[in-house]
């Protein structure tokens, strides 16, 4: 059994603003085991990135308020000093960001930027850092790394830059790699390459990966476990099979229904989830998804559903519908044409 690497418990992240307190993350708990790949899925503003930025304590907004605990290898990161946190960043937990075009400093060579991180965390002799940087660039599939190491970020394409970012993130063999929408800014063929790369490197480096995305298709291949987030909360959690073959929450159905799939009988209009995510300042009473949920009924307005296991071990969801109702109704959202023919 793999060791527990990260345990987030009842994390709440809010921001004080002029209009009131924005509850970006509203009490979420999850764990990541060593070597595990966890996908966090949800639309923009659902709190995915804020959650993982909190783990790194990278939110610099002075108006942020944290509650709850983030235990990494038995140590609560909320309580450690700034200096101790710096040692965790980059060396223990590394992060890849969404936009490779802006995530690298334009005025330094990529080699310099990788070496900077290595020198920060290790006592390296002259030349060692450079050799290691070349090695890393080779591992992430940059051709002619000996020459490219002295190039500046603007001399690389988007996909290549994301490879450089991955090399940077992996440079100190982190135990946990957080990838925040690593493929969103890239075109589809490059997306596939980058995901393949992350998959292979995970095997090679043995890091656990938390993959943040708004695209269930991205995590389908790579994630062991999937968390679906909506409005700052986890609405469904389960392993890959459970989420894809037995989805419990109507929001997950909506996400599944909005993926273009090649294994469908015929092309159709993709279903979209109607409406907008709720205000994080004035959350609707009851279930946050109720205003957009076609399945909503009386109880959804009155009572906030809790995340509980109803259908099996490790498969949690926050919905008042009975399991039978869900199974009967979900195909109308996920596979409308299958539902029609049935």
């Amino acid at each position: 059994m793999a060791e527990r690497l990260l345990a987030v418990r009842d994390l709440k992240v809010s921001f004080r603003t002029e209009d009131g307190i924005v509850r970006a993350v509203d009490g979420i708990s999850f764990t990541v085991d060593e070597g595990e790949v966890v996908g966090i899925v949800g639309e923009s503003g659902s709190g995915k990135s804020v959650t993982m930025m909190s783990v790194m304590r990278l939110i610099t907004d002075p108006n942020v308020i944290y509650e709850g605990s983030i235990v990494y290898k038995g140590r609560d990161l909320m309580g450690v000093s700034r200096d101790a946190m710096r040692e965790v960043r980059g060396e223990e937990i590394a992060m890849i960001f969404q936009d490779p075009m802006t995530s690298l400093n334009p005025v330094y060579t990529v080699g310099w930027q990788i070496e900077e991180q290595l020198n920060e965390h290790y006592d390296l002799k002259k030349g060692q850092a450079r050799r290691r940087a070349i090695e890393l660039l080779t591992q992430v599939g940059i051709p002619r790394p000996e020459q490219r190491i002295d190039d500046y970020p603007h001399q690389f394409s988007g996909g290549m830059r994301q490879r450089v970012m991955i090399a940077l993130a992996l440079s100190c063999n982190p135990d946990l790699l957080i990838a925040d929408e690593p493929t969103t800014a890239l075109d589809v063929t490059i997306q596939a390459q980058i995901l393949e790369l992350i998959k292979n490197l995970r095997r090679e480096f043995g890091s656990a990966v938390v993959l943040i995305t708004h695209d269930l298709g991205v995590v389908a291949d790579i994630a062991d476990r999937i968390l679906v987030m909506y409005a700052g909360r986890i609405v469904e959690e389960g392993n890959k099979e459970q989420i894809f073959y037995d989805p419990q929450h109507p929001y997950t159905w909506g996400l599944l229904g909005s993926i273009a799939r090649l294994d469908r009988p015929k092309a159709r209009r993709l279903t979209a989830i109607a409406g907008q995510p709720p205000s994080l300042i004035n959350r609707p009473q009851g279930c946050s998804f109720r205003p957009r949920c076609p399945q909503a009924f009386e109880r959804c307005r009155a009572e906030d559903p809790q995340l509980t296991a109803k259908v099996g071990e490790g498969h949690l969801d926050a919905c008042h519908l009975s399991v039978e109702d869900k199974r009967a109704r979900r195909d109308a959202t996920i596979n409308p044409e299958l539902a029609e023919t049935a």
């Binding site: 790194m56 990278l58 610099t60 002075p62 700034r82 710096r86 040692e87 965790v88 960043r89 980059g90 060396e91 590394a94 992060m95 960001f97 936009d99 802006t102 995530s103 690298l104 400093n105 334009p106 005025v107 060579t109 900077e116 991180q117 920060e120 965390h121 500046y152 603007h154 970012m165 940077l168």
Partner: protein, 322 residues
């Protein structure tokens, strides 16, 4: 790199030529301005004016007169001032070190202090220190340099000169660095500070705004995610990229000041620099001096902008020629 320098030098020549032609035309081709009349003193006879015109070649066609003037500036270097009848080139050459001393010293002070102030304001954003520094900067920008200079003189030269804090201040004037370095420094220290106040305020505000803007860039977040110290993130990542605007401003201001823009400071502190020379020649329509000081000023401004481009390329690899 070599092509860049060659291109810049050619450009410099073109600019200087264009400026000299323009200035020449402004003073000679515009009706109502007659240098001969200026030189002839009060109520001259037509005879005197004619003589002066002939003596200074003013009765020849415009292009010839332009050519003659350029020849006297650049080749024989013996252009004679209409006003004082002395040679212009040595006059400029003796004024240039004064202005250069003044501007270089002030530039060092304003770079150091504006970076410190800008950094401090950006780092202490959200505390009382930031608005306090920015108000100080605004005051610095708003104080006219001639007023500040006069107040400084009033304090250090007359009212409080015998107070122990200011008793070291020498009389106004300029002593060449080669002659007496200590005196050079002492006489220039107050002019440096006075001249730099405006620029410290201005540059500190610009830098603070740039730092705050850069702070929200993704690569600064990446730098933090790498586990770098706040100090390193600030100096190596945020400040480094924020300096690009700073440098372009500096190049222009520096060129303008060296080219004669420090006139007010020179007048207030009695420094016989290029600004003062230009000012005097303008009031007496002393064309040879105007011509030479304008070319001198244009030379430094163009040179400064070429240097800015070089520093730019060093600071920002994206603008480097491939």
């Amino acid at each position: 790199m070599a092509t860049f320098i060659v291109r810049r030098v050619l450009w410099l020549i073109v600019v200087l030529f264009a400026i000299s032609v323009l200035v020449f035309l402004i003073f000679f081709a515009i009706p109502g301005v007659d240098p001969a009349r200026q030189m002839a003193g009060r109520n001259p006879t037509a005879e005197t004016i004619r003589n002066i015109k002939h003596e200074f070649g003013l009765d020849r066609p415009l292009p010839v007169r332009y050519g003659l003037m350029m020849k006297h500036i650049f080749i024989s270097r013996d252009l004679i001032s209409y006003g004082s009848h002395t040679k212009v080139i040595p006059e400029i050459l003796s004024a240039a070190p004064v202005t250069l001393s003044l501007v270089f010293g002030a530039a060092v002070i304003w770079i150091v202090f504006s970076i410190l102030t800008g950094l401090a304001a950006a780092v202490f954003r959200g505390t009382i220190i930031d608005p306090l520094l920015m108000i100080l900067a605004l005051i610095g920008i708003s104080i006219p340099v001639f007023w500040l200079g006069e107040v400084v003189n009033l304090i250090t030269q007359s009212r409080l000169h015998h107070f122990f804090l200011f008793s070291w201040v020498p009389p106004l004037g300029y002593t060449p660095l080669t002659q007496d370095p200590v005196m050079w420094f002492e006489q220039l220290l107050l002019p440096w500070l006075t001249l730099s106040v405006l620029y410290i305020g201005f540059y500190a505000r610009v830098l603070r705004a740039n730092l705050i803007e850069t702070e929200s860039e993704d690569y600064v977040r990446t730098a933090r995610a790498k586990g770098l110290s706040e100090r390193r993130v600030l100096l190596r990542h945020t400040l480094r990229t924020s300096l690009i605007t700073f440098v372009s401003l500096f190049g222009l201001d520096f060129g303008v000041l060296v080219g004669g823009g420090a006139l007010l400071t020179e007048v207030v502190f009695g420094l016989p620099g290029v600004g003062l020379l230009t000012y005097n020649s303008l009031t007496s329509l002393d064309l040879p001096v105007i011509m030479t000081t304008v070319i001198y000023g244009a030379f430094f401004i163009t040179l400064a902008s070429a240097l800015v481009d070089l520093v730019y390329a060093w600071l920002d690899p994206r603008v480097r020629p491939a």
